[in-house]
């Protein structure tokens, strides 16, 4: 193996010299404690290494040893339900073997080596195989069938095939011959994390990722295979939103990357997800979740790698024909890791100390999202939802600005909404989704033909309400004419009764599309009826008398998804309420006339 001697140490960045045999992005072992690192620069016989573990105590003249491998992920059964650090070390087994603190210099194979999997082998001797084809199946969890794929660069004829049975991850299942070459296929494959896995074709987005969050699904929907950003200052609800999406969105598989954030938030997922039940399948949510956890106090270079490890795992499941959703909380911490490493390498900074390649790294990452025809001709997708943590909550900073260029959904979280405990604090005026049109047909066909029209109508009301709120701040509400006060009242219904959605509520944490639609339909019906009467001179105070208005405010909590017929009854109640008003009021007009 190639070796070089360390002569320069600055935090996680180390330089060594004495060999020209290292590869770019090769994994290396650094120093006597055999810390894990990666080659990031080669110059004559000098190499620069980013070290994925703390370098305290490392000395000059200690050696760097090559491994001959690129920084790669091991992909195979056993990923689901697991929790890995940024370079895919299994944190659960790391804890069992080395205790409660993250130990340096240890390498653990990410997939359990001793565990036996029941494998159904789909190829026989003499069959030919091509890249991306499924050659065997494992029921990995009750929710996910793990399809073993012929790696992208492999094709040929099967010369040996094992029968169905129980195998360990490293057992050979098939032997493939291609000309002179013989290639064994095991239960796992390796893939260099910095390279996107190949696909056959991109497919335009036309399916929504249903999240059960009203402000998202109804106002700013995300397509399967799309990319979204959630920017927001601290405490505005990025993590809660990411957790909500991980829990409730209708992806087949979730990859959740805790990138430079809190340890307790990972613990929360680990404690909660095994208990939570997927509303569609009735199975524990952990059975479709892969966690990558490189918290803020873990080494910063492994934080940089965590994003790539996560997306590689996501692509691997996409290639099996699954819809995968990936959450990265927070991409800003990843960008800061880039900045920190770049600074230690003494590169020229661009904006706010970030390296000039920040933009290209961001775009490469978001480009790995997409709906695709896989090499084997199946459909799969990777949806990316990236949290962004702008310093001081100021969206004009480089990471937010550049992210905007690469995502088509922008859910802007608003500090003032969060301060007033309006959650999710997605600002309905500054957020947008460019998928609205792509998804219009789907919603009209699958939910209701008036979906898009109601969306437009509700949005117009919210805009008008916002304008009126500016006036109210100056003169109070009482002086507005009744038509405008009606807009304010309905604005309140929309904001409190529809947009606000408490993640911790048992009834309302997830809201089905049917319920979303019926709720908005009812609120807008209320508006149209009230407007008609007010134009005839009815006083605004009438609409809040009686039980109807508070019921609309509370229907999200009072009416569970299983009892949607109650919304039908509520609608009848609203009709009756206005019919009576109309009658009473109609008489009033006659008297006056």
């Amino acid at each position: 193996m190639s070796k070089a001697s360390i002569f320069w140490i600055n935090g996680p960045v180390v330089k060594a010299r004495g060999s020209r045999d290292f590869m770019m992005n090769e994994m290396v072992r650094v120093g006597n404690s055999r810390l894990i690192g990666e080659v990031v620069d080669l110059d004559q016989d000098t190499l620069t290494i980013q070290v994925y573990e703390g370098t305290r105590g490392l000395q000059t003249e200690e050696l760097v040893e090559g491994t001959g491998r690129l920084l790669s992920a091991y992909l195979g059964p056993g990923l689901i339900g697991g929790v890995f650090d940024g370079i895919e070390r299994p944190l659960d087994r790391l804890a069992q073997a080395y205790g409660d603190y993250v130990t340096r210099g240890v390498e653990l194979f990410p997939l359990e080596e001793g565990r036996k999997w029941r494998v159904e082998v789909l190829k026989r001797e003499g069959d030919s195989v091509s890249p991306g084809e499924v050659y065997a199946r494992i029921q990995e969890t009750s929710m996910i069938e793990h399809r073993l794929l012929v790696p992208p660069q492999v094709k040929g004829e099967v010369v040996e095939a094992r029968p169905n049975g129980e195998y360990r991850v490293s057992d050979n299942i098939l032997l493939i011959r291609n000309g002179e070459q013989e290639i064994p296929l095991r239960l796992y494959q390796e893939w260099p994390v910095r390279l996107p896995r190949p696909i056959k074709n991109r497919i335009p987005p036309s399916l929504p990722l249903i999240t059960g969050q009203r402000v998202i699904d109804f106002f700013f929907p995300l397509a399967k295979g799309g990319a979204a950003a959630i920017p927001g200052g601290f405490g505005t609800g990025k993590t809660v939103t990411q957790h909500q999406l991980a829990k409730w969105s209708d992806a087949d598989l979730i990859v959740y990357i805790g990138c430079g954030e809190r340890g307790n938030e990972m613990t929360q997922v680990l404690e909660e997800f095994p208990q939570l039940v997927d509303p569609r399948t009735g199975k524990a949510l952990m059975e479709r979740t892969v966690l990558v956890a490189n918290t803020s106090n873990m080494p910063v270079s492994a934080r940089e790698a965590s994003i790539y490890t996560g997306i590689t795992i996501a692509e691997y499941f996409r290639d099996m024909g699954y819809h995968v959703a990936l959450m990265a909380d927070s991409t800003s911490r990843w960008a800061e890791a880039l900045r920190e490493l770049s600074g230690r390498m003494e590169e020229m900074p661009a904006e706010e100390g970030f390296p000039a390649y920040l933009t290209s790294r961001l775009s490469e990452f978001y480009e790995r999202a997409g709906r695709a025809e896989t090499l084997a001709g199946k459909e799969g997708s990777v949806t990316i939802i990236g949290a962004v943590s702008p310093p001081g909550g100021d969206f004009s900073e480089p990471v937010t600005q550049h992210t905007r260029e690469f995502v088509r959904c922008f859910w802007a979280l608003d500090r003032n909404l969060a301060y007033s405990r309006h959650y999710p604090s997605v600002n309905w005026l500054t957020s947008y989704s460019e998928f609205v049109e792509d998804l219009a047909d789907w919603f009209e066909n699958e939910v209701d033909t008036s979906w898009n029209q109601l969306r437009t109508e509700a949005m117009a009301l919210l805009n008008e309400d916002d304008r009126l709120q500016q006036v109210i701040k100056l003169v109070g509400e009482d002086v507005l004419p009744d038509e405008q006060r009606l807009v304010v009242e309905v604005g309140r219904l929309l904001k409190t009764g529809f947009l606000q959605q408490n993640s911790f509520s048992l009834t309302d944490s997830f809201c089905s599309l049917q319920k979303q639609f019926q709720m908005i339909d009812l609120i807008l019906y209320f508006y149209r009826r009230a407007r008609e009467l007010i134009s005839l001179g009815m006083a605004i105070s009438e609409i809040k008398r009686g039980a109807v208005y508070p019921k609309l405010l509370r229907m999200k909590e009072d009416i569970p998804a299983a009892q949607l017929e109650e919304l039908g009854k509520l609608r009848e109640e609203v009709e009756k309420f206005f019919d009576e008003l109309a009658q009473r009021y109609g008489e009033g007009v006659r008297h006056a006339g």
């Binding site: 140490i9 990972m266 918290t295 920190e340 600074g343």
Partner: protein
């Protein structure tokens, strides 16, 4: 690793010195810089070829290039620990400064610690009673939480943390200790803090780690880490519930910036280094609970916001790491309200899992939410009143103004020596709500109103 000694420094700048011709030196290794018998401690911060850059904790004033000797000690910055640390006072490098002699050593620990494996953490779920209504009632402190106080120059944050130190306790009577860490404290502040612990007898459950304003500023780099190494030891080796109070983290960050600038690093915002987030996380994330261990480590770092600006990098990065914040307000302070806790921007993110049934009292979550909403509404009314005048307000709106005044002067306001039980705080909260008509109370249930609301 043997001790290696070299004579002479090739450069001295700011708190840094460079030694040439060294061999086999470890990154972040502890060193002694000795001049005419006087020892100063330092740490290797950069290595290139046969040169080591060392930051000298005690500062470089008076050092000369030719005569200084540098001894590499072959180990990281470490401290000695045992149960005996309780009641003792240490400096920012963990050396006793209270004339009681060395601490008998049970273990030695590297002050920078290691990251807790996220898999082994336990989610924090129970509360600490501070005896302060605005905190216990509205932003409850949870065991294993990191909850900073965002303050401003001249606001009484040090009084507040002293009061918390004296009063904090946990239900069930398990062993509870405070590690009080002063970073860049002024003499009179330190004096006030120490004497108030001694007078009240609180000191027997306190460990102090003190770096004063005129102590060498570089020592501030290790001060919080020393305090947290002590706190971790008591929490996770000795099964205690530990509250670590760090005041003032702004001084720590200033030192970080100073050193970074000397090293010629490219800054991120306002001159602070790009790694300040990770650096602060290496302090704040030491908080928590660990599966299978009985103790807990809770942190209250104090951050004074330069210019009262919450978007300044120090409070901003802190807020991104911690689990909520308690914000002190200048306006309340001007009105003579102590502690001047601004309720609306304050938030304890872990509160919802550690209050209510089985922890505090079943009505607590709804009560807190109602008080918050009503007080928020009152603020809207106030800003309207400031434009159109109080006389123009409706009857209902004027109720809100009364509510807000009472809430501030009776609920938030309390004496420096007044300790309120959780029960008292919650009852007081209900008494405040009695100002408002029941029709305005839509966050609490009818049953709760019947049970707790007295008119």
């Amino acid at each position: 690793m043997p001790v290696r000694e070299y004579l002479g420094l090739s450069r001295i700048y700011g708190p840094l010195v460079v030694v040439k011709g060294v061999e086999k030196v470890g990154y972040e290794e502890l060193v002694e810089v000795v001049l005419r018998g006087e020892k100063r401690l330092g740490q290797v911060v950069f290595l290139e070829e046969d040169q080591a850059v060392i930051q000298v904790f005690e500062g470089t004033a008076g050092l000369t290039q030719a005569d200084a000797r540098v001894r590499f000690l072959g180990r990281p910055v470490e401290i000695s620990l045992s149960q005996e640390v309780i009641g003792r006072v240490f400096d920012g490098l963990g050396r006793p400064i209270d004339q009681e002699g060395e601490v008998i050593e049970d273990v030695r620990r590297d002050v920078y610690g290691e990251a807790i494996n996220p898999y082994t953490r336990e989610y924090p779920r129970n509360f600490i009673q501070t005896g302060i209504s605005a905190i216990d009632g509205m932003a409850t402190l949870i065991r294993g939480q990191k909850l900073p106080i965002f303050s401003g120059a001249g606001l009484p944050h040090n009084r507040l943390v002293v009061q918390i130190t004296r009063q904090a306790k946990i239900a069930g009577g398990e062993k509870f200790v405070v590690v009080f860490c002063g970073i860049g404290l002024k003499h009179d502040e330190a004096e006030f803090i120490q004497s108030s612990f001694e007078e009240t007898g609180a000191m027997k459950n306190v460990v102090m780690v003190l770096n004063l304003a005129d102590d060498p500023s570089v020592e501030r780099i290790t001060t919080p880490q020393v305090a947290l190494t002590i706190a971790e030891y008591l929490a996770f080796d000795q099964d205690m519930h530990v509250l670590a109070i760090l005041t003032d983290m702004t001084n720590y960050c200033e030192t970080l910036r100073e050193i970074s600038n000397y090293r010629g690093e490219v800054p991120a915002r306002k001159g602070y280094p790009g790694y300040m987030y990770s650096d602060l996380a290496s302090i704040y994330e030491r908080t928590g609970m660990i599966k299978g261990r009985k103790g807990s480590l809770t942190q209250i770092p104090v951050v004074t916001m330069p210019n009262d600006d919450i978007t300044h990098p120090i409070p901003d990065l802190t807020g991104y790491i911690t689990e909520g914040q308690i914000v002190l307000g200048r306006e309340l302070h001007r009105q003579g309200i102590y502690p001047p806790i601004s309720i609306l921007p304050s938030l304890s993110r872990l509160m919802k899992d550690g209050i209510g049934e089985g922890f505090t009292r079943p009505d607590h979550p709804n009560l807190a939410s109602q008080l918050f909403a009503s007080y928020g509404q009152a603020q809207n009314v106030r800003s309207l009143a400031s434009i159109i005048g109080e006389e123009e307000l409706s009857e209902a709106d004027r109720n809100y103004l009364d509510f807000a005044r009472k809430f501030e002067s009776q609920f938030i306001n309390q004496d420096f020596s007044e300790e309120r039980s959780m029960e008292e705080t919650l009852n007081l909260g209900w008494a405040m709500l009695a100002q408002l008509p029941p029709s305005e109370l839509n966050r609490v249930t009818r049953e709760e109103i019947n049970q707790f609301l007295q008119r």
